[in-house]
């Protein structure tokens, strides 16, 4: 009796749950649970910022919405930061979280070759959740596309900016 109470008190400090049994019981791979419990890169950039590309995609079959944003270094074309906001199942959230981690530090052309199958494999997604990883792949592509489109629009202003930089240097 005392032992049980004692265990309960001690058990409190030992963490939320035993990882292995929880994942087996829930049926989600531990990486998916990890991304769900410890989300990385959740947030929002200013979509009007010219160095930000926003990818907004949806899966109508399950009512999911996924927003993935990248912050690009204009001179090198390297993605310096990324964030996401996803409303959907655990697999969708984890897929977009992984996507933001993988695009950081890469060139824009490079991230276009990230395949949904890589994400799915990393998270051990079951077949029924494969489309979640597809959504993440589409989100990356949409973000890059958005950034490029913005860049094209603002090409006229680039020269003026360059001149300013030189003057201030």
């Amino acid at each position: 009796m005392l032992g049980a109470a004692g265990r309960r008190i001690l058990g409190f400090g030992l963490g939320k749950r035993a990882p292995a049994s929880a994942t087996a019981w829930r049926g989600y791979h531990e990486r998916v649970v990890d991304h769900y419990d410890n989300p990385r890169n959740v947030g929002s950039f200013d979509k009007n910022d010219p160095s930000v590309g926003t990818g907004l995609v949806g899966a109508p079959a399950c009512g999911d919405v996924m927003k993935l944003q990248i912050k690009v270094d204009d001179t090198t074309g390297k993605i310096v930061d990324a964030c996401f906001k996803t409303f959907g199942c655990g697999s969708a959230i984890a897929s977009s979280s992984v996507a933001t981690e993988w695009v950081k530090g890469k060139q824009m052309e490079e991230v276009l070759s990230i395949k949904n199958t890589d994400i799915a494999k990393h998270l051990s997604l079951p077949p029924v959740k494969l489309h979640c990883s597809m959504l993440a792949e589409d989100a990356i592509k949409a973000a890059v596309k958005d950034y490029e489109a913005k860049k094209v629009k603002s090409t006229g202003k680039t020269e003026a900016v360059q001149t300013d930089k030189v003057a201030n240097a």
């Binding site: 907004l56 995609v57 949806g58 109508p60 079959a61 919405v65 927003k67 409303f87």
Partner: protein
């Protein structure tokens, strides 16, 4: 002869399944069987239930779910090949024409499941999105009073199986028809259009709206704000539900599918709100 007509019925069923060689053997006689002899076939429990079902269902499978919206009431109890109404396997009573033949009116025996009866027929409704509730729950309970597996626990294994199937069917029908979104998806499915394809959409305006909506739900913590958002989203849901009805009636399936997509997003938001309340 019973055997030859059964054979004929079985041919129709198995032909559909692509097992012509097997069916031909059955019709031509014992000596042509490849895998099963007739006695094996009749002794096998599962096969026997298939046989019974085919006996009742021949003719129903020909008409399937592609029939026009004008309901042919005689399909409640699908006729046999010869055009007769099926009979109860227990007492031989004839099936009624005005209601689905799920249980026999005379002896109460639960009948085998008929795949050609759709959910609307079970509840005596037209195939339409605007069903105005129409005492769905009452009818559902009435059916379960006749079909529920608890009522047949002392009956034969065969009838227990029928009761399990029919009861599950009625539950499916009720759950599908009472929810406007599921009803809409089912209606399109009956017409051969499937909406659950896993595609990605990129419509910026719509997605921005949905994102904003979900964010609002996420950030709301008091029940007053949540109820307010819920009311707004429910109104939008209603709008697109009506839009679906119109699109469906006028045969504009693209518009119908688009309406369903929006309805699903609103439905998800409402679900999240309910969880928080």
């Amino acid at each position: 002869m019973l055997r030859s007509s059964v054979g004929e019925l079985f041919y129709k069923k198995t032909a559909k399944l692509g097992l012509r060689f097997f069916a031909t053997g059955l019709i031509l006689g014992n000596s042509h069987f490849h895998s099963l002899s007739p006695s094996d076939f009749f002794l096998c429990n599962r096969a026997y239930s298939v046989l019974v079902r085919d006996f009742v269902l021949c003719g129903g499978s020909q008409h399937g779910l592609q029939e026009s919206k004008a309901l042919d009431r005689s399909f409640y109890s699908s006729s046999t090949c010869s055009g007769e109404l099926p009979k109860c396997w227990n007492c031989g009573g004839t099936a009624p024409t005005s209601i689905p033949f799920l249980a026999c009116e005379s002896c109460g025996s639960v009948q085998p499941r008929n795949l050609s009866i759709d959910f609307f027929q079970i509840f005596g409704l037209e195939r339409s999105h605007d069903i105005k509730d129409d005492n769905l729950e009452g009818k559902y309970k009435d059916w379960q009073k006749k079909l529920h597996p608890d009522l047949v626990h002392s009956k034969s294994e065969k009838e227990k199986m029928f009761a399990a199937e029919q009861s599950a069917l009625v539950i499916d029908a009720y759950q599908t028809l009472r929810k406007p979104l599921l009803r809409a998806i089912y209606l399109l499915k009956l017409g051969g259009k499937h909406v659950d394809e896993e595609k990605t959409i990129t419509d910026p305006e719509m997605l921005a709206e949905m994102l904003e909506m979900r964010e609002a739900v996420d950030e709301a913590h008091d029940s007053l704000t949540l109820k307010k958002i819920k009311a707004e989203v429910e109104e939008k849901f209603e709008t697109y539900s009506r839009s679906f009805s119109q699109a469906f009636t006028s045969g504009d399936f693209d518009d119908a599918i688009a309406s369903i997509e929006r309805m699903r997003y609103y439905d998800r938001a409402i679900e999240e709100i309910r969880k928080k309340l």
